[in-house]
Amino acid sequence: MLRACSRVLKPGALLSFFVVAAADGVSARDIAAGPEYVDAEPGYPLLMTAAGFDNVDLAEVTDEYAATLSTSIRARDAESAELEDLLGADEFAEGQSSRRQELAAVRDGLLVRYLISAVRP
């Protein structure tokens, strides 16, 4: 994907994106045992460089990610009656459980969110 992106960008063009990734040092076994969304490889600077980008910058935005997740859980709890009508009680409960699991993984340092920026040479 990064290579395809590099191809369509003009020289000097900018790439900037958010991504949720496994924290450095998290083992493949932990990733496999974790929530299903923990599927990203760590080591983005290497991936970016291999795809041909320069000036790679990683800004961690994990605290904001945790805050957004918390707000999301609270907002859904506040709308639980309507969401249960819309989704069904089981699906609503599963979704909230998944979000709480995700938030726990963030707070345990297993999941991070980055804002990654780079230049296409």
Binding site: V8, L9, P11, A13, A40, E41, T68, A75, E79
Partner: protein
Amino acid sequence: MSDESRDLIEEFDARYRIGEEPVMLRIERAVTGSDYGATSYTTRGQADRLADLLDLAPGKRLLDFGSGAGWPGIHLARSTGCDVVLTDLPLEVLRTANRRMRDDGVRGAVIAATAASLPLQDQRFDAATSSDVLC
């Protein structure tokens, strides 16, 4: 396309359809400050940070890959005046994005494609972005 990929696309289509329900839009506004039926964690403040980092302005062309229903790509185009091309796979989502692009008066296009095989010519974009798409 494999059965697994087809199932995944259908799942995302269903998720985005639900995202257009009034209760989901209320939640989205409370959580990220957007109302696009979005599934990413990108807040309005973070989207505005992207606009600065990408130096977006009228006359520039932005690619938003894995765009979903258009958050934040359409918002970025609307707020900076740049053109935007959105790519994703679920067709229902792209129809929604297309409508939103028209409603918001944004110049651009939506394309059904995977990010890994973009049917786009080389060196056409001034900037690219995505939000919570696995690389």
